[in-house]
Homo-oligomer: 297 residues x 2
């Protein structure tokens, strides 16, 4: 088996190459808008969601070449959500990945529009995935449906709204779980599911991967919350403790940091067990579950 | 032939019914977000873009039942663009269709998120269109690609950005045309093209309908600009002259109102000629071109 570190590195390079090909050129008018989009897309992200699309499709016997447009689409959706999340009317953040946020560089108007355009372009790319030889158009249509649902009000945006509506008031563990499952979990899970769909996996495998994806999304969010409390600002690219200052509903603030870690470890065990059910092909997905918890940024 | 007025009325009723079925219920959490989405979707719109999807598909021998999810998707994309256009960082409008704008009722944060969620849900619906019996998945994938492109930085959002970047400085007729073709034209044209794609029309018919759609989009925008100068505020649901006050690049401000009307009439003739090439089935599209110019709001 390829070590996880190499897998992540190769995946990131492949995705960066595909994004460079599949994004509108910054020279295209309006070039200021295209620059704003490129600024946030090429900001040194780890490309985790695209790598999940790839890892899931490979775990089902598919090939990465066939899913690259959809893999890139998931990164564009993630990037758009960060741009809008940072806006003055949302989290009002000045820094993201150690650089000024999009609206701090391009202004609020272009930041809103750059996010909007990235979301639309993502679905253009998913549609274009049907042109890749050997990809079923029915799978592409289903991927568009699943990703659109996960990105919308019953998924990621619903989680962002619930998160914002909960700010500054007391919430219980169930509510934090609801927010997390949607805000981070929905798009992570959709990345995994889209990979399985495009590989035309059978229903049992898809169900297994969906469950794995949901657990993985929760692990990521809990790990982010823990990092926000105890992490190193220089590694994270933003100030530690910023969630607490905003009165955000996080796992550590509701159940304490030890119980948050314990819950994350349980989720990692569950995700690994699901990955094991896929045999040797699922090994990378198993490793990814542990990585999601242990990463430093 | 059905008179245009009945066609528009029946279309609006059919689309309203489909939207009521295809939107997430407002009782679903987060219900404040779903209320914000519903507030703008059910604000008495004429449903022109969905009706164009329907009219185009019927002009190609398709049936409206088969395209309803995509028709509704085009309305959701239009609605999201209005919500974001009205934001304080964009046009900063207080009124839309005679009612307070979304952010005046729900606040800026939920208005941004409601727009985002409508855009994502639109592509969920396009993907779901593949479940309608008799609809080709390849056509659905292509429709997603075309609509995603038209809604993005090389289409509608590109036009919004160019419009904003042009505000308050001198622009020439070519630049106004560029902005119009993208800002309004792209989504109108995509509505027509999506209808043709879903009817599996041949290449020649599709090319004809694309050209028709582009002309129709320009007609709509010029007519909007003229209405903004000479229209009745109570019929338009917003103040007349608001574009000029903002230094917007409009047709009448660049070439004068007479030449703007002349240009629109030329476009109507061109669009009608293209519709005539479809025979009797294209009659409604021909009428729609004249309606686009002569409407009062």
């Amino acid at each position: 088996m390829v070590p996880l570190k190499s897998y992540l590195e190769t995946g990131r390079i492949d995705v960066d190459g595909a994004l460079a090909r599949l994004m509108p050129p910054v020279t295209e008018p309006p070039s200021r808008l295209h620059s704003a989009m490129a600024y946030s897309v090429f900001a040194g992200g780890k490309r985790l969601r695209p790598i999940l699309v790839i890892a899931a499709t490979e775990a089902c016997g598919g090939s990465r070449e066939k899913v690259m447009p959809t893999a890139c689409a998931l990164e564009l959706i993630h990037t758009y959500s960060l741009i809008h999340d940072d806006l003055p009317c949302m989290d009002d953040d000045d820094l993201r990945r150690g650089r000024p946020t999009n609206h701090r560089v391009f202004g609020e108007t272009l930041a809103v529009l750059a996010g909007d355009a990235l979301l639309a372009h993502a679905f253009h790319l998913i549609g274009e995935n049907a042109r890749v030889p050997g990809v079923s158009a029915a799978a592409v249509a289903e991927a568009a449906s699943v990703v659109g649902y996960a990105a919308g009000s019953l998924g990621m945006v619903g989680g962002q709204a619930a998160d914002w509506l909960a700010e500054g008031r007391d919430v219980d563990e169930g509510e934090v779980q609801f927010i997390h499952r949607k805000k981070t979990g929905a798009l992570i899970a959709a990345s995994v599911t889209a990979g399985a769909i495009l590989a035309s996996a059978d229903d049992e495998t898809r169900a297994r991967l969906s469950e794995y994806g949901e657990k993985l999304g929760m692990i990521f969010q809990i790990a982010d919350d823990i990092l926000n409390v105890v992490g190193d600002a220089s590694e994270m690219g933003k100030a530690a403790g910023s969630d607490a200052k905003k009165g955000k509903a996080t796992y550590p603030s509701v159940v304490g940091i030890d119980r948050a870690r314990e819950r994350a470890r349980d989720l990692v065990s569950g995700a690994r067990a699901l990955a094991r059910g896929l045999g040797e092909r699922g090994a990378i997905l198993g490793e990814l579950a542990g990585y999601a918890l242990d990463r430093k940024n």
